[in-house]
Symmetry: C2
Subunit: 430 residues, 2 copies
């Protein structure tokens, strides 16, 4: 490349896009030292006109077909036209930086096959874990590893809400309101709180770890935090646990076991200290053992910082004309990996039952659990003095097969000792 | 590069070297998928003959001048001939992977100037933090960041010893023996326990963070753990702290403040959960905020895994003939950075005095401290019932200038209330 600049086309000028422009302006010297040439934002595309009219381009296709542009940054999010922008940019010979976990998880096959065919690179560090360099850590830092397990707190919004609930003993609804006021939750927080965002990120990490496309639909359990009761957060704290929304991918002899759900971690677990908008990812390799990455998973500048780092690192190989020649993502569309179906995974659980009559209800419940080979590690029963016929029973089980547990719960819930209010079940991470 | 192999020459066939050969053999498929060509160990140099006689080379110079070798892995450690091997390899047009923190810290200028002149690359992930990809995290993952602070538990041996002392309430000497038996401390553990190893690693991270050579002699305090008393570990635990050996580099308006010393961290601090041979590094960037990396800092396979990851990542650019063209380490030998001299840094401290007479000793000590503007946050006095004239006074100070504190301690130690046994001073990390 004989040019004096790396020319960047930016598509999507929202919070993160503005942060990227700001950081690139502020860090001109750092950029120059790192890659030997300046990076120039040549065009910015957005739905509506922007505060830099000289750079404004209305149609993203004009950026993709601009022969002077070396690198396209896609920051619009969502599935379409993001997919089109990414794949058409690669086809047009551009390298791409994206923060789009939804499109990457859904179109992994198409995106990385296109990148391989056209020998172009796509970097996407900001799509998982905000500012935490976990994509690079997994694909390069642990390049030699056989990955055994990935576990992560991958969504800043839900972690903020869970921290608020715990800290102030408030309901999910109240904590969500605080998160919205603090700018950590959107007006419609569905994708964050229902676990889909975590599932997208887990699919990306798993695809990267095992060199095959792990789809969101391969994740056997996707459960969010919206129906978490503050009561369970308080009871489990007594048992020595914190509640976290955890995406988990585990390689077992039978295949990969994937889930996204609220889980209990002990106060001594590294995840227990991860509060507010922070994320953490624990990667376990055969030779490396546990490696933990931790940092801000949300916020304008942390996300923009990760995007700019991608721009810098990708520009280094643009300068030598080698971006994408050796693919950064190992992906073989023919390689299939076995996925463990729901129900076959094993873990200890926390259970809470709302019970009606006191005399022999605990023996009834424990009898049914034992019938399905679910054994009890600890239990706690509490009955309301004023309402003699109402009470709750909380149980920590030993490790159990989730299928068996489901059958036991079905039978217990059908007995007349149990009130119609739901029985609570939360997995315990060990 | 038209060859079918990446040819590696390995110099140093000790514990880590053997681990590297083992991992490369086991992970042939991963390597092939990542770089498209196999990696072949062509020659191994060691002082004495090895278990692979067909690869054995007695003189490292024969490896350096072998035109077929693309990449030289230096794993002999120490200053010489390691420096010669690294620089002569670069001059001979070889790329280098090294795990040698001592040589890198001491010859940073020469090594990276040579790499720039000869446009070759040197990777050294295993030199800091064992398997933790913190070198790459700092130079690439946080490529866009202005680094404000680096703090780390950087030595697995000392952390193992401190964990043992705390866990079993034993003396330093007993804990060292356990560490030696467990294989985490060498027969002569000096470089680990006196802080030099941590200082080497801190110098490397600081040089990388600020693009200028930070020397070990720039570190104003280098203090090890050999004179730590189990008594202070127990007292400070009562105050809510753990003791860790921390290397710290902080950018202030007056310059970079560097130190290596045992420090107190609260039980809630991320470092408090780092036990045994684990390391952790917290990097604070202007936009990123805190980013933490954690993993095994010692052990054959973790170290070897980091070396093999370097070999793989470096091979990707060897395949495209571009290794070292854009330097991975930004180093400008003309750039000078200001270092804060010892005594000017500020922190709270833990102090323990062995005192002789009870009546007014606390008021005497606090009087002298206040004279030098050292104010007390908490104190604890304890007198031995059987020896009425002997006791100890433990104090947690507010933030104080270390120079002032030194003057106060000098004056206090000169009073006749203080026994001849040493006064203890430990910095508190905030």
């Amino acid at each position: 490349m004989e040019k004096n600049y790396i020319n960047v086309g930016l598509i999507g000028y929202g919070t993160v896009g503005k942060g990227v422009v700001k950081i690139l302006e502020e860090k001109k010297n750092i950029v120059l030292r790192k890659i030997g040439k300046p990076i120039r934002i040549k065009s910015i595309c957005d739905l509506s006109p922007i505060d830099k009219p000289e750079l404004y381009v209305k149609n993203f296709k004009d950026i993709i077909k601009d022969p002077k542009i070396d690198l396209i940054v896609e920051l619009i999010g969502g599935y379409e036209p993001a997919r089109t922008i990414i794949t058409e940019s690669l086809k047009a010979g551009k390298n791409v930086v994206s923060a789009n976990k939804a499109a990457l998880a859904k179109y992994w096959d198409q995106i990385f096959t296109t990148a391989q065919i056209y020998q172009k690179a796509i970097y996407y560090e900001a799509s998982v874990g905000g500012v935490i360099p976990v994509v690079q850590g997994l694909s390069e830092g642990l390049a030699s590893e056989e990955i055994l397990e990935i576990k992560g707190i991958l969504n800043g919004t839900t972690n903020f809400i869970l921290s608020e609930m715990k800290k102030h003993c408030v309901s999910y609804e109240e904590a969500l309101k605080s998160a919205q006021e603090a700018g950590y939750a959107e007006a419609d927080p569905s994708f964050d709180v229902n676990g889909i965002d975590t599932a997208n990120k887990l699919a990306i990490l798993a695809s990267l770890a095992w060199g095959s496309w792990v789809k969101v639909k391969n994740i056997s359990v996707i459960k969010g935090i919206a129906d978490l009761d503050i009561e369970d957060i308080l009871i489990t704290r007594e048992f020595g646990y914190d509640v976290k929304l955890i995406g988990s991918a585990q390689k077992t002899k039978d295949g990969i076991d994937l889930s996204v759900q609220p889980c209990l971690v002990t106060h001594e677990h590294a995840f227990a200290t991860v509060e507010n908008e922070y994320n953490a990812i624990m990667i376990t390799g055969k030779d490396s053992g546990d490696v933990l990455f931790y940092g801000k998973g949300a916020g304008q500048l942390p996300a923009a910082s990760a995007v700019v780092s991608d721009i810098i690192n990708l520009s280094k190989s643009i300068v030598t004309n080698t971006a994408g020649i050796v693919p950064d993502v190992v992906y073989d569309s023919m390689k299939k990996i076995k996925i463990i179906p729901a129900g076959k995974s094993k873990a200890p659980y926390y259970l809470r039952f709302a019970v009606l009559d006191r005399p022999n209800v605990l023996s009834k419940i424990s009898g049914i659990l034992s019938e399905f080979k679910v054994s009890i590690a600890r239990s706690l029963a509490q009955f309301n003095i004023n309402k003699k016929d109402y009470g709750k029973i909380a149980i920590i089980t030993h490790e159990t097969c989730s299928e068996n547990l489901e059958k036991a719960l079905k039978k217990i819930n059908a007995t007349k000792s149990i009130t119609k209010s739901k029985t609570v079940k939360i997995k315990i991470e060990i």
